[in-house]
Amino acid sequence: MPIENFNKKLDKVLSKKKSDFLESASFQLDNRAWLDMSFEIALNILDVLEAKGWTQKQLAEKLGVSPQQVSKIVKGKENLRLSTISKLEAVLETELIYVANSEKEVERSISQSLDVFGLFLDSVIPKSSKAPKLKSSGSSFQMKENTSSKGKVVKLSTVDDNFAKGA
């Protein structure tokens, strides 16, 4: 049996306030990468506060900001500036984020990314159709497939290097 005058009954109890769920969901899905970082930083701050026995209010005093500002930071939704992170790290005497700080580390990171890309290529390109060398147009870099005793890796080398080798 359908409910009689359903819409009239609903109107009596319907809120005038509109839900912002869709806007909020879209924002979070579109900005997940930095929101995840903000979330992890918030968890790290909360861990340090607990270990030091500090309240959020005490942290706010040490930072010289309002308790509301600290409350926002530990909600994990703030797009934090590097200057804010540095200040937090100094006050908390803890490293909250890690930044690669040498050429070697950056190269290692690129190499790891390319290893993953190489594995991806292995999985999607049939062996017979796989070219041994990939050259991206307009770029000074080539991706070269090497086979070593440790297995297949994809390394980054400059075009000039390959010219020198007579490639």
Binding site: I3, N7, S15, S19, F21, A42, G76
Partner: protein
């Protein structure tokens, strides 16, 4: 108590879509779906929640004996899956037979399966997900979210937090009955 449309067509006869409730607007203006959304994305809430249950998740073989931080990260991943599901649902059609509300909400308990109306229902983001969204189905494609949470234990009664969610389902059910938004053939308690 007020009913808040999340994504719904309130002019349609009967109304269709996903609604929620604002239980005490003078105390907290947020609806229950918003409160759940806030809790699941709040590092402090999740940290407190799992710290209180650390011994259980650390030793329970069903959950893989995980740490608090791992449990929080798992919840965050499930939360984003849930956001995607509800966003797609809002954009692609609440009445779709494969993607619609009827497909994602399941009866809260077996005894609810044969109750056609005001059924308590639950929805979850994937088979192994521990996030729950609790809702009442008032009519076909008319669902009201009453709350939700993280279900670690076999029954809702084993967890204080979920016991409050059960109480809210009953509270909203009574409110709907008092306001004659009750059809004995369609009421259903559901879970996502």
């Amino acid at each position: 108590m007020k009913i808040v449309p999340i994504f719904a067509d309130t002019k349609r006869k009967p109304p269709e879509g996903l609604f929620s409730v604002c239980i005490d607007p003078e105390k907290d203006q947020r609806d229950e779906f918003k409160i759940l959304d806030d809790n699941l994305s709040d590092p402090e809430f999740l940290r407190n929640f799992f710290n209180k249950r650390e011994a259980f998740i650390g030793a329970h073989p069903f959950h893989g004996s995980i740490t608090v931080r791992e449990a929080i990260r798992r919840t965050r991943n499930e939360y984003f899956s849930l956001l995607r599901i509800f966003k797609d649902l809002a954009e692609e059609g609440i009445t779709d037979e494969e993607l619609g509300l009827v497909e994602i909400f399941k009866p809260l308990k077996k005894s609810e399966i044969f109750k056609p109306q005001l059924q308590k229902e639950k929805a979850k983001s994937s088979y192994k997900s521990w996030i729950r969204v609790y809702a009442l189905r008032v009519a076909q494609n008319f669902y009201i979210v009453t709350g939700g949470g993280i279900k670690l234990y076999k029954t809702m009664q084993e967890d204080e937090y979920l016991k409050t969610q059960l109480a809210k389902i009953e509270l909203v059910k009574q409110f709907l009955i008092e306001n004659e938004m009750y059809d004995p053939e369609g009421f259903q308690e559901l879970e996502f």
